[in-house]
């Protein structure tokens, strides 16, 4: 690790000049204008393959394509043989994942906690992925923007902390999700200097800086949270507690309407199985679309309730397997959730 102080553009509040008294910096935190740009920068040469775990946040796919790469998709699937009640019941098959690795595979993208499913990968699941990364010398892009939002004691584990993973993992975080300020567009990539240095070159030839005031404010937020870490005053405790209640409430409303929510272990979203609900999607204009897209349009039109079809988060090759789910966001004001509750209550009473 070089002892030469890395230089930094003047607008960055993190002065990267000289290692502190703790020695040379072990990390090059790179403030970035929002998660999407850091993912773009990790895309590889032409014909490289990038494994994307489904359901995936939708921008991963076009970003891989824009980098001239090919996306290779591996779905999380509900465990067979048991009632699927939680996002923890959706799992990756180690065999299926291993079978997708080729000599052209450069990286695997994971998102934990996951959008839209809400899955929080357990340490043994991450270890399985890590073992494959090390065996095949892959990079890992770990999108952890919802890292502070876990429920029911689920622990967020950083794959970069597993043996052999620090040097091959880029971990992405977000001020927008951390501080409920999505419109601030400050995010960061944390990794070994050997990888960050390449991202810096993209950064200095694309946007070059992020907004000074926004970074300054986020750093103050972290200063405060650092002091309160682990205490009840910590926003990182208060936010998940508040959202936990909203999550419970939405889930019970959905059940009473005959829907089957998959309880998320983390994140902002909840997906719901709509297969047991029989509705007449009598709309010729949506005939060619997948079931969940049709259902969502019907729900907006007939019930005034807006959701997102989950097959939108799957690749074309797998979307048909997953067209019986819709996604709700529960990070909403109580009045919005109450309005949704009212709609669902009326719906359940009619059937």
């Amino acid at each position: 690790m070089s002892n030469t102080p890395p230089t930094a553009p003047p607008s960055s509040t993190a002065s990267l000049s000289s290692g502190s008294e703790l020695g040379p910096p072990l990390v090059r935190p790179l403030p970035l204008p929002g998660i999407s740009s850091s993912q773009k920068r990790r895309q590889r040469e032409k014909k490289s393959e990038v494994i994307i775990v489904e359901p995936f946040f939708d921008c991963y796919q076009p970003m891989v394509l824009m980098a001239g790469g090919t996306g290779v998709y591996v779905p999380l699937r509900p465990k067979e043989g048991s009632t699927v009640l939680s996002s923890g019941d959706w799992v990756l098959s180690a065999e299926e994942l291993a079978s997708k690795i080729t000599p052209r595979t450069k990286a695997i993208v994971i998102n934990t906690p996951n959008n839209p499913l809400g899955k929080v990968y357990k340490i043994e699941e991450l270890q399985m992925i890590a073992d494959l990364c090390i065996k095949h010398d892959l990079l890992c892009f770990s999108d952890e923007v919802y890292e502070w939002l876990t429920y029911d004691g689920a622990k967020h584990v950083k794959i970069a902390s597993l043996p052999g993973m620090w040097e091959r993992t880029i971990t992405v975080g977000s001020a927008g999700k951390t501080f409920s300020a999505t419109g601030w567009k400050v995010g960061w990539a944390i990794s070994s200097g050997n990888l960050i240095k390449h991202m810096k070159i993209i950064h200095q030839n694309s946007v070059y800086h992020c907004a000074t005031a926004a970074q300054e404010a986020v750093s103050h937020g972290f200063d405060r949270e650092y002091e309160l870490f682990g205490t009840p005053e910590s926003y990182f405790q208060q936010l998940p507690s508040m959202l936990h209640q909203k999550r419970q409430k939405l889930a019970s409303c959905l059940r009473s309407a005959g829907l089957q929510p998959i309880m998320p272990e983390g994140g902002y979203f909840m997906i719901t199985d709509i297969s047991s609900v029989k509705v007449d999607l009598n709309d010729k204009s949506t005939e060619d679309e997948s079931y969940d897209f049709r259902f969502v349009k019907w729900l907006i039109k007939e019930k005034g309730l807006a959701t997102i079809p989950v097959s939108a988060f799957f690749s074309p090759e797998h979307s048909k397997e997953f067209d019986k789910y819709i996604r709700f966001c529960f990070v909403k004001e109580n009045s919005t959730l109450e309005a949704a509750e009212e709609i669902l209550r009326k719906w359940s009473q009619k059937e």
């Binding site: 003047p10 993190a14 502190s20 990390v27 040097e167 419109g183 030839n205 946007v207 070059y208 907004a211």
Partner: protein, 458 residues
């Protein structure tokens, strides 16, 4: 420094948490890493690591150095934009995502201001894209419109990011220098011009676009209507695009006029014009810019945007919108910031030029922008003791920072290899600085220059 220490503390905390788990985390944060051996950089960033700002700004960050180098204002921005930002941040919904291609109130304000200037309707949704600074617009234009194997003509001296951005798109930069009129000592940026035959010869069947920057950084040239018409004729003849970087559009001094090449016949449909909130309102740290152009081009920049940054910061966009609306109403009046800033800077420009002239140097007085080139040849500074193969101006600036505690930017950072010899006796000074700092810089500079002259004589 504080924030760096914080980051280290957080990581050390993770290391602690790791050690208390049953998993063996001894390798975490190790200084003996397992290297991901085959993972080197992507081809698109080959050779793009050097950057003049990264090289010079941290060196000049030492507070004992008088910094007339990097171009950012130390004069305060107008108070109403700062107030508008504070107000916007206090509204909850303005802290959440806004429209990806530009916050509605901002694109509407841009449409009003530029509609008036262009003398045509500018569709706020289809003909405008808001980006992370002027940089972000340049990046979106390159990535959205320039392909591998294309050629892009760049006029020297150029803002340094143009060449790496062209290369990152897999295209070839084709450079053409502005040249001083032969036989004449150049006193003004107006004395530098493009040779029409030389420019014409640079166009080929592979030419995708030409990048112009008016007012120009670092030279300060404001292209005349005739000069732009000459460029426009070539663009139309060869069916090429034009990327017109006009971030300094409001900073034009008496006797000169900013002309938008997109307003010339046949040019609207092939031009992307770039503007900047940072330069418009002296808030370079806000990092908001915009691209204006025809829908069939802007839509490709929008595609890049939605797959890179997706949106720009909401409260900042809201505040810029308020600033634009306020000044839109004042356009043509003396208290409009679009013109009052230029008046304020003209005085600073003239003072800096006088000092440099009195010191026996030759400033190139800019017609626009906030930079001035100065020819340091008269100082006859011997730098042969400095090793390395850098151009004279790089060595001069490093020497000047170290020995004279005065920072500037070497001008060969803004030209290609073939033109280095033409420009290596010039350094760039920035004059958008407070009166106090400029006074101090001038007096320091003047004393140093006087000392240099004395030393030269002895």
């Amino acid at each position: 420094q504080l924030h760096m220490n914080f980051t280290l503390r957080v990581l050390n905390r993770f290391r602690f948490l790791c050690r208390s788990s049953p998993i063996n985390c001894r390798r975490f944060c190790t200084s003996q890493p397992i290297m991901a051996s085959r993972h080197t950089h992507a081809k698109r960033i080959e050779g793009l690591d050097k950057n003049v700002w990264v090289a010079f700004t941290s060196v000049a960050a030492d507070p004992s150095i008088v910094n007339l180098g990097q171009g950012y204002p130390d004069i305060p921005p107008p108070s109403y934009v700062k107030e508008a930002l504070a107000k916007a941040a206090s509204v909850d919904r303005l802290n959440q995502y806004t429209r990806g291609f530009g916050h509605p109130s901002l694109v509407k304000a841009l449409s009003q201001v530029y509609g008036k200037i262009y003398g045509r309707q500018v569709d706020p949704l289809k003909e405008i894209l808001v980006t992370v600074g002027g940089y972000g617009s340049l990046f979106s234009a390159m990535q959205g419109l320039v392909d591998e194997g294309d050629e892009v003509i760049i006029v020297e001296p150029f803002f340094d990011c143009y060449v790496p951005m062209v290369r990152m798109a897999g295209a070839k930069p084709v450079l053409i220098p502005l040249r001083p009129q032969s036989g004449k000592k150049t006193f003004s940026s107006a004395d530098w011009y493009l040779d029409p035959d030389e420019l014409s010869a640079k166009f080929s069947s592979k030419t995708k676009a030409i990048i112009i920057n008016t007012p120009n950084n670092p030279l300060g040239k404001v292209f005349t209507r005739d000069e732009l018409q000459m460029i426009a004729d070539l663009c139309v003849k060869h069916d090429t695009l034009c990327f017109s970087d006009e971030v300094y559009e409001w900073l034009v001094y008496k006797g000169h006029q900013h002309v938008k090449i997109a307003t010339l016949p046949g040019m609207w449909d092939r031009t992307i014009t770039i503007g900047s909130a940072g330069k418009t309102f002296s808030v370079t740290g806000w990092k908001l810019g915009w691209s204006i152009g025809p829908e069939h081009l802007i839509k490709h920049l929008q595609t890049v945007m939605q797959n890179s940054l997706y949106t720009c910061a909401t409260p900042l966009q809201e505040a810029v919108a308020q600033g634009l609306l306020l000044n839109y109403k004042l356009m043509g009046q003396p208290n409009c910031y679009f013109s009052s800033l230029a008046e304020e800077l003209e005085g600073k420009r003239d003072r800096l030029a006088t000092i440099l002239q009195e010191a026996g140097m030759t400033p190139v007085i800019p017609e626009g922008g906030y930079f001035m080139l100065v020819d340091v040849t008269p100082l006859k500074q011997d730098l042969s003791h400095m090793g390395g193969d850098e151009a004279y101006d790089y060595k001069f600036v490093k020497w000047m920072i170290k020995e004279k505690k005065l920072a500037a930017i070497p001008v060969t950072a803004f030209v290609g290899d073939e033109s280095k010899e033409q420009f290596e006796k010039y350094i760039r000074l920035c004059f958008i600085k407070s009166s106090g700092n400029l006074r101090f810089a001038f007096s320091l500079f003047y004393r140093k220059i006087a000392l240099w002259k004395q030393q030269g004589k002895s």
